[in-house]
């Protein structure tokens, strides 16, 4: 066999180049070892076949050898199944994590393990009443003032708790939509991600058509998809968009390389497109999908959808007011007189019928605030749903009773404030002449200067306060109806003391006091607060356990993903040794070939010289 004179040099050169490239990739892997989302890369190689055997210098074609190594592509090592697993798990973690943030916020209002709060204020009132029941203190202006101060402390705490609750609710809304505040909200983040993924889809595909691998862009896109999955449940699909991009000559979606005459000289698979779908449950309880990003369809923003939020509140004048994501100012619900009604709307993505490219439909999905307990469209998981659950659900209305949101805790506080005001006012009026002087009420709606005894049902935790009469001295703790037989000065105080210790379930009907329409679930005032704090603690405890489990599972999946796609220092070091050895060997091959050629040229045909 006759071989080309410098054939071996080409082989050695290809080996030098391939190993040099491998070392470069090892360098890239090591450089990005801690880069978030980085997927380790490798050089895909194949041996160069002996492809052109027909030569008049050759005797036969039986013993041929290849021409070295070919560098086919630089690829990522990634497992799409683990990506799907990770995104499925991060939405669960996202839900419990967001829920825990909200519950931690609530615990600052309701957890009284380290602070003296509302429950303790009730105890203080009971202490004052216990002291006041004794001879000499009933009717004493100092003790009357002491009781008023204790009740003032309680009403202040209730006012503060209610305001903190509204602030927490407002922060939750601002977490969802950060318009007008420093940090971006979930709506802005989701929209940014959708926009970036849509843009990256075009850049990656255009790059890949041009022959680039675009690996770093794919990493960036994967990282964005991971983040998106923490907000809402998504499904990611890779597909050939034959209907949109056109079909190749052989009926398959392929990329063809043509020569100057238009002849096909090479081909490879047409680059994949990527579709992102949001998975949700509709109002009928059926799982549905809505496409959020559709490959590279259309131009500009045609290939991704958008999310908007709207919030309806009620002004102090009773008129509704609606805030939208497009508004320039931050959402503010502090003066609203009703709970905010928050709704989300995914809109703007045009979808195409694969069988009929001319058919276009625009799909919108609205996640409306539940009314009358009816469940609307919602997500199974994700931090957005956690925020919606906290804002939507009151833990009591059938259909949406699975989560105790802000409204539940607000109702608890309002129920407590109203019950306390009603009971104390009723007892104090009962102690006046013939029990008829309804001006002698102690607690009132401080926002209503015309408040009367019968308006008790307008009292909430936000507006409960000491009555003007008690403040200016025209109202006192009653020292008992002077017209009744067997009256004692401390009768009103004893009744109040009994009321502080009584358990209210469908009212309280004792020998001396008869209260209707007060239901504290068979608790006293202080116990009701304790009961509410414990419910909050239970919710927090249960959620914390779920979060712990979800994070552990997520870490496990992340470890699995890292074991496939992450960079191992030892492995790269080992590879470096291997590649440098191969590089050295290729260099040695070239030296050897050079020596062989030198022998042939300089030392051949000199027999007998």
């Amino acid at each position: 066999m006759v071989r080309a004179t410098f054939a071996g040099y080409t082989t050695a050169l290809s080996a030098l180049q391939a190993n040099q490239k491998r070392l470069d990739i090892a360098g890239q892997n090591l450089s990005n070892m801690n880069t978030p989302g980085y997927t380790r890369q490798q050089l895909k190689v194949s041996s160069v076949n002996y492809t052109n055997p027909i030569s008049h210098y050759m005797n036969d074609t039986q013993a041929v050898v290849g021409y070295g190594v070919s560098m086919d592509a630089v690829t990522q090592i990634r497992d799409p199944y683990l990506d799907a697993q990770y995104r499925n798990q991060i939405q669960k973690s996202g839900y419990t994590d967001s829920m825990q943030t909200a519950l931690d916020r609530l615990s600052k209002i309701f957890d009284e393990s380290q602070i003296t709060g509302i429950r303790n204020a009730f105890n203080d009132i009971q202490t004052t009443l216990t002291n006041m029941q004794d001879l000499g203190k009933v009717g004493d202006a100092i003790y009357d003032s002491e009781l008023r101060n204790r009740m003032q402390a309680l009403t202040n705490l209730l006012n503060n708790a209610s305001r903190d609750l509204t602030t927490a609710e407002q922060d939750e809304l601002r977490k969802l939509d950060g318009t007008g505040v420093n940090e971006m909200g979930d709506v802005q983040n989701i929209n940014n991600i959708l926009q970036q993924v849509g843009k990256l889809n075009r850049e990656i595909k255009n790059g890949q058509i041009a022959g680039m691998d675009c690996l770093e862009l794919m990493d960036e896109r994967n990282l964005l998809l991971d983040e998106l999955a923490s907000y809402i449940p998504i499904e990611v699909t890779y597909y050939k968009d034959a209907a949109h991009d056109g079909i190749g000559p052989n009926g398959k979606a392929e990329e063809y390389y043509l020569d100057g005459h238009g002849n096909v000289v090479g081909r490879r698979d047409w680059p994949d497109d990527l579709r992102v779908e949001m998975v949700y449950t509709d109002a009928q309880g059926v799982t549905q999908k809505l496409t959020l990003v559709e490959g590279t369809r259309g131009t500009d923003h045609d290939n991704y959808g958008q999310l908007e939020m709207s919030v309806t509140t009620t002004n102090k004048d009773g008129k509704p007011s609606t805030w939208n994501s497009g508004d320039k100012t931050a959402i503010n619900i502090m003066d609203s007189t009703t709970p905010p009604e928050v709704s989300l709307k995914f809109t703007g993505l045009t979808t195409y019928d694969p069988t009929d490219p001319t058919a276009q439909t625009t799909s919108d999905v609205e996640f409306l605030h539940p009314t009358n307990g009816a469940a609307n469209a919602h997500f199974a998981d994700g931090s957005v749903q956690a925020s919606l659950d906290m804002l939507w659900k009151n833990g009591e209305t059938a259909g949406i009773a699975d989560v105790r949101g802000y409204e539940f805790y607000r109702n608890q506080l309002d129920t407590l404030a109203q019950a306390f005001a009603k009971v104390m006012n009723q007892i104090n009026v009962q102690g006046t002449a013939n029990g008829a002087d309804k001006t002698q009420f102690l607690l009132a709606n401080k926002d209503n200067p015309n408040f009367t005894y019968d308006d008790f049902d307008e009292i909430t935790a936000a507006n409960i306060g000491i009555s003007q009469g008690w403040i200016n001295g025209s109202v006192h703790v009653s020292t008992t109806d002077s017209t009744s037989t067997n009256a004692n000065n401390n009768d009103t105080i004893l009744r109040m003391l009994e009321a502080m210790q009584a358990s209210y379930s469908n009212g309280y009907h004792g020998k001396y006091i008869d209260i209707d329409d007060v239901d504290l679930k068979n608790n006293s005032f202080a116990e009701y607060m304790n009961y509410t704090s414990t419910i909050m603690a239970n919710d927090s405890y249960t959620n914390a356990q779920k979060l712990k489990t979800n994070v552990t599972v997520l870490n496990g999946i992340q470890n699995s993903r890292d074991s496939v796609s992450g960079v191992s220092l030892d492995e790269e070091a080992s590879n470096m040794m291997m590649y440098i050895s191969a590089y050295n060997a290729a260099s040695r091959l070239m030296t050897t070939l050079d020596e062989a050629l030198n022998t042939l040229i300089n030392n051949t045909g000199l027999v007998g010289r």
Partner: protein, 397 residues
């Protein structure tokens, strides 16, 4: 499975953070003595501990109050004992006046002494504890009793619950008017006449006797750990009205009808007042005065005086028993409060123990846990040092 550096460092960071968090938690446990930092750490423990805390607050408030009440009851008891003691001494003087005196000078001395004793009784009825009058009933700020210089008129000033004005009762002791001049009684009889008026001159809400009985019905039942707040009748009555002490009628007895139209013995409140220590001493004084006024009269007869004094001595024995019944009743209340205070003290100890059981940290366990956490954290840091130093690169030449 490939082990990557990112995963290794991430897992190490998570582990070290967890161990560090446990260490800080154990520090807090030791320093605060509490087993948990938040309600969410153990919701049920939180629920129970706060319930116990509320009960504890109630107990210590009652404990503080019970001392005050005990002192006041003790003052009332002392007052009643004083009255009984004064009455006893007055009885001795009346016996002396009845039997041993033969001329007017010592009799007048005895009369002055008896008048003095009347004033002493009123002083005892105005006894104060912490600036309020222990026999004033519901009204503790107005001096309840005053006695005219001649000992005849006892004034009782009282403000009823829910009223601003005071009601002033005047009880004047004197010879009872003869009902039937044609059939006069064999001996002179003494008794009170009762009048009442408002401090502001406004009309009264009832006749004087009714109002006096109303004042006597007043009670100071308080929830102090004895009885149930749901039934005030089971609570301890800490009031003792001055008229109740004088007549020996408890507020419950008056509420039951004593002294009124339904009195079991058919007696009116005036009848009871006429048997009071003040009335008995007062009628002795007036009888002596009447007798002394006859000095120089021809055929001066001492039999009328002797008759009245003898009858008074007999009545004094009965009244003495009645007053002693009042202070022994007060003594019983004092003992009951002692028992209640003991019970509260025991309850306080139990609640403290219960609270410690559900919310307190076992000090030994906490300290051991803290040292274990410290060791674990040190080990974690050591692991971190090793992680940073070892890779294949360290061994490549």
């Amino acid at each position: 499975m490939r082990v990557t550096n990112t995963a290794t460092y991430r897992n190490f960071t998570t582990g070290a953070n967890n161990v560090h968090a446990r260490l800080i938690k154990s520090y807090n446990k030791v320093s605060s003595g509490e087993a948990y930092e938040s309600a969410a750490d153990s919701p049920l423990s939180y629920y129970n501990s706060r319930k116990i805390d509320s009960q504890y607050q109630d107990v210590i408030t009652k404990q503080a109050l019970i001392k005050d009440v005990q002192n006041r009851i003790y003052q009332q008891e002392l007052g009643a004992r004083d009255i009984q003691s004064i009455l006893s001494k007055a009885k001795d003087q009346v016996i002396y006046a009845n039997t041993d005196t033969t001329n007017d000078t010592p009799l007048l001395s005895l009369r002055d002494d008896l008048l003095q004793k009347q004033h002493e009784i009123v002083d005892a009825l105005n006894a104060q504890y912490q600036n309020f009058y222990v026999f004033g009933g519901n009204d503790i700020s107005t001096p309840p009793f005053s006695l005219s210089g001649d000992g005849k008129t006892l004034t009782f000033t009282h403000t009823f619950p829910g009223e601003e004005k005071a009601t002033i009762f005047e009880m004047t002791l004197g010879e009872k008017p003869v009902a039937d001049p044609n059939n006069p009684p064999e001996h002179t009889e003494y008794g009170y006449t009762l009048t009442a008026k408002s401090s502001d001159g406004s009309p009264l809400n009832g006749d004087p006797e009714e109002l006096l009985l109303k004042a006597m019905k007043e009670q100071g039942r308080i929830d102090i750990g004895y009885g149930s707040i749901r039934d005030h009748d089971t609570l301890l009555d800490t009031f003792t009205g001055g008229i109740n002490v004088l007549t020996g009628l408890t507020s419950d007895a008056v509420r039951g009808g004593a002294g009124g139209p339904n009195d079991p013995d058919g007696k009116s409140i005036i009848d009871y007042l006429n048997e009071s220590p003040l009335a008995l001493i007062g009628r002795s004084v007036q009888a002596i005065d009447k007798y002394v006024e006859t000095a120089g009269d021809t055929g001066r007869d001492r039999s009328e005086l002797n008759h009245l004094l003898s009858a008074t001595i007999t009545d004094m024995v009965t009244t003495e028993h009645r007053v002693s019944a009042v202070y022994s009743d007060l003594g019983n209340k004092y003992r009951l409060l002692d028992d209640t205070a003991d019970k509260l003290s025991l309850e306080k100890n139990n609640l403290t123990q219960q609270y410690t059981d559900v919310w307190g940290a076992d000090p030994y366990e906490s300290i051991v846990e803290m040292y274990n956490s410290q060791q674990a954290y040190n080990a974690a840091l050591k692991v971190g040092t090793n992680l940073m130093s070892s890779s294949l690169f360290d061994f490549m030449s």
